[in-house]
């Protein structure tokens, strides 16, 4: 558990370099970022600014080239593969743009999946967790449906329930409204806001400024660096000039 005043996520001078055909591309060049428990943060910036790379590193799906990253008071930038998987499974809930529900499993089974996967959890507890998560997103009445029988907005709700089932310390959302029409997009945003009011910590990547405004705090990235909003506007104006 996080002690009061200690950030949930603390990132210092984080860098990520990709090497392709002997060419170095600097995806992240010295990111400093701290995120407190219960915060709702949006990361935005033009494509290629590094926001998805940063989210992957925060989500322990990828490792940084340099710098420090501590999650829930634990240093995580240099963990081995197994340890990283274990922490990811316990601490992090993911929501993806394309929902990533499995088409031949029911709503219930899709939400249950991460719980059956690694944790030794009694069946009754598992069932209680799945139903609790589905109730929080308002999809408990659809447990027996298959993804193809739901609208895109409903599918994303189920995906949010799947992320909640593991009771993660943070929800990471990568363009959660990218595949939805504006009405369904708004509904998913409203759901994230409600979860935040109930205490969830959320970090969302979005390129849509309307949705970024839903968050408490906006972080702007440009060329692998965190910049202030005014700075970003100026940089973007220069790019388009």
């Amino acid at each position: 558990m996080t002690e009061a005043g200690q950030p949930l996520i603390q990132i210092e001078n984080l860098t990520k370099i990709f090497y392709t055909d002997e060419i170095e591309s600097h995806a992240l060049s010295g990111i400093h970022l701290s995120l407190n428990k219960g915060e709702y943060v949006a990361m935005s910036g033009p494509s290629g600014c590094g926001k998805s790379t940063l989210l992957s590193i925060i989500g322990l799906l990828d490792t940084p080239t340099g710098g420090r990253y501590s999650l829930n008071g634990k240093t995580v930038e240099n963990l081995d593969f197994t340890e990283r998987s274990r922490i990811r499974n316990q601490e992090i809930g993911f929501i993806f743009q394309s929902f990533n529900l499995i088409g031949d499993l029911t709503v219930y089974e899709n939400v249950e999946l991460p719980l059956t996967y690694r944790q030794k959890m009694p069946a009754a507890d598992r069932k209680a967790r799945v139903m609790e998560a589905l109730e929080r997103v308002g999809m408990a009445h659809r447990v027996r449906h298959y993804p193809s029988q739901l609208s895109g907005g409903q599918q994303q709700r189920v995906a949010v329930a799947r992320a909640l089932g593991g009771r993660p310390s943070i929800l990471l959302a990568d363009e959660p409204t990218g595949n939805l029409d504006s009405r369904n997009g708004e509904a998913v945003m409203e759901l994230l806001q409600n979860l935040h009011r109930e205490g969830a910590t959320i970090c969302m990547v979005t390129h849509d400024p309307r949705f970024a405004k839903h968050a408490q705090r906006e972080i702007h990235l440009f060329d692998g660096k965190v910049v202030r909003e005014e700075e970003l506007k100026k940089l973007m104006a220069d790019v388009h000039a």
């Binding site: 593969f81 993911f94 993806f96 990533n100 088409g103 027996r144 193809s148």
Partner: protein, 235 residues
Amino acid sequence: MIRLCNLERSYKTPAGQTWVLRRINLEIREGEFITIMGPSGAGKSSLLNVLALLDDNWQGEYWFRAQAVHEIKRKQRSELAKRNIGMVFQSYHLLDDLTVSENIDLPLSYKDVPHRERQSLVADTLDHFRIVAKKDLFPSQLSGGQQQLVGIARAVIHKPALLLADEPTGNLHSSQAKEIMELFRTLNQQGTTIVQVTHAEANAAYGSRTIQLRDGWMVSDTSNPELQPYEAVKQ
């Protein structure tokens, strides 16, 4: 393997009833490789969802081997599907926060397979699909073709008798699509019955039989004389 008799599917809309499938009579023999084609809205995916036992809102008869599907309840249908059917989707349906080997293992978590046996099945499958080197990578670190390879590996790890594929190459470029179709051919030659929905003529050429749908009606059913079903070849 499968017999559909007068199978029909419709939706109720405020404007009345909209028909999606009309009086479908279809027999699928063991070892066949069938392609379902037709324009958008012809009912291809609806038919595939009925075959996959994902949809219950149809009338008519559906026989799966000796089992009368139209007479059994949802729970038994799910059991039947989990035991006998694997599915491949256009958008892969992989979980981005699980590794390749974890994604492949998923269907086994729904069967009472002991842990050690699961590990060896996953290892065999990785080997068979030549993706051992990729086992600890995440889907986002793979190309589309590799992701679909993982999607197919997951669909067949529990050795289903029937493999259903909905536009399996729809998100791939042509050389990747060709690899996926070659893989389907191999699986079919090893005895898996396959039904695929596709827009691509090039993919249909791999099948032993092509069915055309228009507005929910089956309008043609032609065999590819060069590619006889596996069972027929064996005899």
